[in-house]
């Protein structure tokens, strides 16, 4: 079971979720203030469209409001879920996919770093940016094409003119570097 931790900015995510289950709007407001910037920035980076990013932001937090009971504090990260779900929705819209959006299970994202107050967010943001800027350009491009453009590895290989195996290796190496940020 994940230990309950009180953050410097207020309640932790899971105690906020418990209150949201009781339809406490102040708790949703606190959760929104905590993560809306990250969710919105990511959607905006993918779509380059402020209106569309705002829609994704609203829809996600509305979903948390409606289905808070599905999240389980012992099994996954709420911050991780918000970011993965926002990314999938933005990519689906970017690629104009119709039909069901591939969405992670509510408890299906294991994210051990803390993001629930501004200072830890800023610290991790800084670390990730340092790692990203230190990656060789080809590796950085490969993960950015995948994550922010929603391109498959074969599409990246076609776009860059590199063998499929090379693209997979680049992505793997970049993700290994990022893994060290969390360890």
């Amino acid at each position: 079971m994940r230990p309950e931790r009180q953050t410097e900015g207020g309640s932790n995510d899971w105690s906020l979720l418990l209150r949201i289950r009781q339809k406490d709007e102040a708790a949703l407001s606190e959760l929104y203030d905590r993560y809306s910037g990250l969710v919105y920035s990511q959607a905006h980076r993918i779509l380059h469209d402020a209106g569309a990013a705002e829609e994704i932001l609203q829809d996600l937090f509305y979903q948390v409001w409606r289905t808070a009971e599905r999240f389980d504090s012992s099994r996954g990260s709420l911050a991780g879920w918000l970011l993965v779900a926002a990314r999938n929705r933005a990519i689906s819209r970017l690629r104009r996919k119709t039909g069901k959006i591939e969405e992670p299970e509510e408890n299906g994202v294991a994210f051990s770093a803390t993001l629930d107050n501004r200072s830890t967010q800023n610290l991790l943001l800084e670390k990730v940016r340092t790692v990203m800027s230190s990656l060789p350009q080809a590796q950085r491009e490969a993960v950015e094409f995948a994550y922010f453009e929603g391109m498959s590895h074969s599409e990246i290989a076609e776009k860059t003119g590199q063998p499929l195996g090379t693209i997979k290796t680049r992505i793997r190496s970049a993700m290994e570097m990022l893994k060290k940020v969390l360890s």
């Binding site: 995948a146 003119g161 997979k168 990022l178």
Partner: protein, 260 residues
């Protein structure tokens, strides 16, 4: 798959959304039944989240939060809207009020149908545009290939099977001026797991140069192409079996060989 589990590399690609739909469906189906892979996938998704933190941070417009809470308030109040006050006196409705209800409903239905029809047409148009772009790319590629094949300075090199692949055959069309290698193979022996075929240009001077990796099904589909440094003088072309993803220099057994 390795030992009945999804390889970490595939999980990483799935988490990044970089697997083709069919392969992603296999990973998802397996993870739904395998707790070990589900746990690793969950961690891979957690790592992919880090990329979201690399983007420049922006503040959402204040109206976004207002709209969210307005939506929640509307949901809370909606059930109350339909309730009647007890003992309330029912207002007298003018005769045309009876028409307004059904007419509004019909209008809403028409708007809804037009909206969906419009949305479907926009989607179809987008799909058609993508298909046209794909066909244009294919056409351009076929024209380029035809030009290279017909060019008088394109060499043809026949590939013959070695003792490890006596039935295998193939050919290479090589244009040194453009540095283009086109090739096709037949009846190569089946690949072991985690292996790939790799085509090599063996120059008159220097180490072999990779001309791409391929699987047997790629070869069946037709002519494969690769780019090598222009003006390389070839001594021979060869196909070897190498670890998946290819290697910088040949290490595995030769299956096909042809001297130019």
């Amino acid at each position: 798959m390795t030992n009945g589990h999804i390889r970490e590399e595939e999980l990483e690609l799935y988490a990044l959304g970089s697997l083709p739909e069919e392969e992603a469906a296999v990973v998802k189906a397996h993870a739904s039944e395998c707790t070990e892979c589900a746990s690793k996938l969950s961690e891979a998704l957690g790592r992919s989240v880090l990329l979201a933190l690399a983007v420049p941070q922006q503040t959402p417009p204040p109206t976004a939060k207002e709209k969210l809470f307005a939506r929640i308030a509307a949901e809370r109040e909606a059930p109350l809207a339909g309730t009647l006050m007890p003992h309330a006196k029912r207002p007298v409705r003018p005769w045309w009020n009876w028409i307004l209800g059904p007419a509004s409903l019909a209008l809403a239905l028409i708007c809804f149908l037009l909206f969906w029809q419009n949305r479907r047409l926009v989607d179809e148009l987008h799909s058609a545009r993508l298909a046209i772009r794909g066909l244009e790319r294919d056409k351009q590629r076929f024209e380029d290939l035809a030009r290279i094949l017909a060019s008088p300075d394109t060499l043809t090199i026949k590939l013959a099977g070695t003792d490890d692949a006596p039935r295998a055959t193939g050919f290479v069309k090589y244009n040194g001026r453009l540095g283009v290698v086109l090739y096709s193979t037949e009846q190569l022996p089946a690949l072991p797991a985690q292996k790939t075929y790799q085509m090599w240009l063996v120059p008159t001077n220097g180490a072999p140069i990779s001309a791409g990796i391929f699987q047997s099904e790629d070869s069946v589909r037709g002519l494969l192409s690769a780019q090598v440094p222009a003006n390389t003088m070839p001594k021979a072309f060869a196909v070897t079996v190498e670890p998946a993803g290819g290697v910088p220099q040949p290490t595995g057994p030769k299956l096909l060989l042809g001297a130019s």
